[in-house]
Structures are given as structure tokens and as C-alpha cells.
Symmetry: C2
Subunit: 330 residues, 2 copies
């Protein structure tokens, strides 16, 4: 393999080295052998199940180089994986990054991308323990793998929702999609500042919230809102064999932009990549209004009959169809 890979490996090694040499204290003790062998060797605690999630971050699909500074790409790349761990009530342990880069990419891009990713990993107590590097045929291609743990049999699945359970969502919705709408309208993201659209550029995975919900046994089913409320609620309903009713006036809508304004209901309902947690809880469970510093809002309830119905403030009901989320396809 030609030069770029070797330089890249050296660079990533230098950056993650200190956190990998965790055997002598520091770093994550789950990682016995990190970058530099055929496999990483992990020693996960006894009495735990392992969680594994993988997510692509592809240029032109999940981000655009002219819209997203490298720091935001690195952050969002890992946030996707950490959010999946959060949605199971798990704790992240090790991160693996497969990264394919075009020959002409500046080393500084990689440095800024990797530092941001590593910093988010460290914040959540996870170690970058390996991965793969390759030359890309076209564009920047990343695949992030996060390995986490959860006490045996305690993972919160999508399939546990029961008729009568209440439906809750953390934080606010639509803030990430609002940035996409803005950048599309501008035909270029140059004027869309990360600080005005933090939930898009630096989404905070709800790892601590997921852990607390699992420890206290509050959630019966859970998913993260990566594809948007309409799609992700449909996933819970499908896997649990139930339906849902939600009240559109209760959906917490994000404030974004400058000056900041509340996003349209449509964005809150269908916009993806907010990485909030959407969960259900038996109606007798008391759910606090804030958990781990994050607002929790009840938006509806699970029903026996299939389909998702929305009631608007006028009391008119209509069926909600998942619309998916298309990212940044040009």
C-alpha cells in the first residue's frame, strides 16, 4: 500500500497511542492490545453482554466536504455509533475506525477529523482500539464500529413496547434537519455556522441518559432518533407488534439558526440525525422531567391496534407514515 496509508497509520497511532497504552493505568482497561496487530484484543467484564454497532459515514451521502468542517465529520461519525450503544442502555468500551481516503486529501483534514473523533471517544470512556485504512476510489469513506457492554440480559430492545405504555423522547427534535434545510437553500454550507446548529454539527449522544433508564428499569423499548421520529417510532411499533398515538402539540421542537427560532413541526416529525432517545415506559412508571441533565417529554402512548396516529391541537387525527431521511445526496 502506498505512502498515504503508512503516514495515516503513523498519525493515528501517534494520536491514539496514549489512550491505547492503557495497560499502565489510564485509558480503557478493556483494551489489552490495540492498533498494531491482526485483531484488537478486548477483555470485557464477566457478567456482561457485548453490544456491537457499525455505521457508515460516506462523503456525498452522510456529509459534504464543502459543508462540514473535518471536526464535525469526525464528531458525527462516532456520535452515530455511540448513540446506538445509548439506545440499548449500554456503555461504550472500544471504537474501531475503518477509513478510506482519496490520494490527494490533505493530512491536516485527517488530523482534524481524527482528533475530534478521539476526543468524543475519550469523553465517553471509550478507546480507539483499531480499524483499517485504505486508499479510497472516490471521496472520504468511514465506517465506525463501537463495542459496548450491558449487564447480562439487560439490553433495552426495540421489541419491548406494550399497549398502554407511554412514549417519551429526550431533548428536542428537528434541530439537525434545520441545518440541512438551511445549507440546501444556500447551495453551500459556508454561511451555516456550527455554533448556530449545534445539534447538527456536534450531536451529543445520550449515553448517560440511556444508562440511567436501563439501571432504573424505566424503559420497556428504546431506539435513537437517527432516521427521524416517524421512522424510528415505526421501527419500535414494528418490532414490538403494536401501534401508537402521538399528540403533535407535545413534540418538543428544537430552536436553531440565528436568530434562533423553533423549527417547523414537519422537521421535528420527520427530520433525522438528532440522536435523541425515543423510548416507551409502562404507564405506572413515574418518569422524571429531566434525567442526566436532559429534558424528557411524553408525546403519546402505545396502542394495541397497528399504525401510528397523530392528533393535532384541533383534535383532528391522521395516520403518520415514516418518511425516512435522505442525508446529503447531491
Amino acid at each position: 500500500m502506498p505512502l498515504p496509508e503508512k503516514a495515516l497509520i503513523a498519525q493515528i497511532r501517534r494520536m491514539v497511542g496514549p489512550s491505547i497504552r492503557g495497560r499502565n493505568g489510564g485509558g480503557n482497561r478493556a483494551v489489552l492490545t490495540g492498533i498494531g496487530d491482526d485483531c484488537a484484543v478486548l477483555r470485557l467484564l464477566a457478567g456482561k453482554d457485548s453490544l456491537v454497532t457499525t455505521d457508515f459515514t460516506l462523503e456525498g451521502i452522510h456529509f459534504r466536504r464543502d459543508w462540514h468542517p473535518p471536526e464535525t465529520v469526525g464528531h458525527r461519525c462516532l456520535a452515530r455509533g455511540l448513540s446506538d450503544i445509548a439506545a440499548m442502555g449500554g456503555e461504550p468500551a472500544a471504537v474501531f475506525l475503518s477509513l478510506a481516503l482519496p490520494r490527494d486529501l490533505a493530512q491536516s483534514w485527517v488530523g482534524r477529523f481524527a482528533r475530534s473523533l478521539i476526543s468524543l471517544a475519550e469523553k465517553h470512556g471509550a478507546t480507539v482500539a483499531g480499524g483499517d485504512t485504505a486508499e479510497s476510489p472516490d471521496g472520504i469513506l468511514a465506517d465506525i464500529i463501537v463495542v459496548g457492554t450491558v449487564p447480562k440480559g439487560k439490553a433495552i430492545l426495540r421489541s419491548g413496547a406494550k399497549a398502554g405504555d407511554r412514549i417519551y423522547v429526550s431533548g428536542e427534535l428537528g434541530g439537525s434537519a434545520a441545518a440541512v434545510v438551511k445549507m440546501r437553500a444556500q447551495r453551500g454550507g459556508g454561511r451555516t455556522k456550527p455554533r448556530d446548529y449545534v445539534r447538527h454539527f456536534y450531536p451529543e449522544p445520550r449515553v448517560e441518559l440511556g444508562r440511567v433508564l436501563r439501571e432504573k428499569g424505566l424503559a420497556s423499548a428504546m431506539i435513537d432518533t437517527s432516521d427521524g421520529l416517524s421512522t424510528d417510532l415505526a421501527h419500535i411499533c414494528e418490532e414490538s407488534g403494536v401501534g401508537a398515538e402521538i399528540d403533535s402539540s407535545l413534540i418538543p421542537r428544537a430552536c436553531a439558526g440565528k436568530p434562533a427560532r423553533e423549527v417547523d413541526l414537519d422537521l421535528a416529525m420527520h427530520g433525522g440525525e438528532d440522536y435523541e432517545l425515543l423510548f416507551t415506559a409502562p404507564h405506572r412508571k413515574r418518569i422524571p422531567r429531566h434525567i442526566a441533565g436532559v429534558a424528557i417529554t411524553q408525546i403519546g402512548q402505545i396502542t394495541r391496534s397497528r399504525g401510528i396516529f397523530v392528533r393535532n391541537p384541533e383534535g383532528v387525527g391522521y395516520e403518520l407514515h415514516p418518511r425516512g431521511w435522505e442525508h446529503f445526496r447531491k
Copy 2:
């Protein structure tokens, strides 16, 4: 996300469904929850360390659609990961596939790719337990993740070679590179038949051999020959802080092509993707000539002084420099 993904998920689910529903017997019991939740949930045996490896398979870099039938791409994609598990002396448990496909790719391509991959996984007792699907901006992009296990503290690392250890390699080398040379010369792989170059199109990862070497405590260091003997031996030397002397007349050269002929020494020395095991063993250990049905050949020994030296049949020595392996870049 548009139609291709949904259809693809449905297709992969249908295919791997039977092996995932392993809870009621059958399949791999390590996988509690597979495709269809935010993460896969694995229950690995107590007393084991976990192994994790990730490898890209990118169109135009690792394969060419006009040279490689989909079955061979699926097989080679997973063989890369299984071979990394083998090189640690581990046993594969679960496989994750991240797959990004161009919009216009025929569903039949995906079916043939996935069936071949799943069949190789099953042969080695591993379950396809999840992954990610996305639309590709350009070409077929796959990332394979294999999770395996090894008894606590027993993983065979690259860093264990000591001066005086003998160097061994399994099978034969250069067979895979011979196919690449042929296809390049022909400017098109149509006439290069998989059955004439089996080690290239259907490499057999040496999982059983790796396991036996670990169980019997024979190997002090090990790696798989994915980048080629010269590069992979350099990795062992670098990680172990040693050097090596090899005898070029002892290197087992593959027979390939039609009519079959022995490959040139250069290919055996530098050609990649044979996925054999290269290992070292203390000189007092008796290494059988065949292990798990695979021929084992001693090719040299580890030295205290750095650098890798080759002695040819005329007794002339020269220093060997790793040349890497460039795959299929057009």
C-alpha cells in the same frame, strides 16, 4: 433512505434470518439479538478475551467488478476478516457487514455476494449478526467486522518472536498474486477462471490451523500473509524488536494457472492476499509438517540484529525490503 436499502435489508434478513434465529437451537448461540435493533447483543463465554477486526473491501481498490464474480467478492470480503481471527489463534463468533451500494446495482449481484459470504461464515461457525446499509456515492463499498474469542491471555500476538525462533509459513505463497498478474496482462479478467486460481478467488482462511497452534502452544508470534511475505515478516520483526534470515529456496511457491505452473519467487516473496499463516516458534518445539490438513514449511529464523536477510541457493545474501501490495488500482 430510498428503496434499494429497504429491499436490501429485507433480502439480507431473509438470507441470514435462519442463522440468526439461533435462540431456538441452531446458529451461533453467541448472538442473542441480531439484525433489527440498534446494536447486536452478543453473549461471549466467560474466561475468554474478545477479538475484533475490521477490513474494507472497496471496488476499484480490492476488487474489480469486471474481474471478480460477486461470489468471489463476498468470499474474499469475509476471508480477510476470518484470516485476522486465525492469525490470533482465535475462533470467529459473529460477523457484521457494512455495505454501500450504487443505486443502479442489480439485486442479483447483492444476492450472489451475500450468499457466498454467509456460506463462508456458516462454514466457520460464525453468524452474520448485523451491519449497516447505505447508498454508495460511487462503486460497491463493504466493510467486514469479525468478532471472535480466544481463551484469556492466549491470543498469539505479532510481538512474541525471539532471537533463535524458527520461522514457518502455511500452504504456498504467490498464488493469489499470480491471478492478478494474469488479469492485468489480459486487461480484463474474463478469461481468468476462478478454478485455475483458487487461492485468489476463494482463499481459505486458516482458522483451524491457527486454533491448533494456539491450543498446543506452538507459536510465539503470528500474522496472516495479507500484504505479502516481505511486508508481513517485517511487521513481526518490528513488533517483536528482532530481525530475520530466510532461505529463498525454502519458500513454498504456489502452483497456479492452466496449465498449472509454479509462480516466480518474486510473487511468492511479495505477493499479497494469500491469507496463509506466518508464525515463529521456539527452536526446541517440534512443528509437524502438516497441521489441520495444511502443509507447514520452515523458511528461516529470527535474529537478534535488525533487518531481514535473504540467502539464495547460491549462498548469496541480500537485505529484503517490504514492498507492500497494491491490489487492483486501475
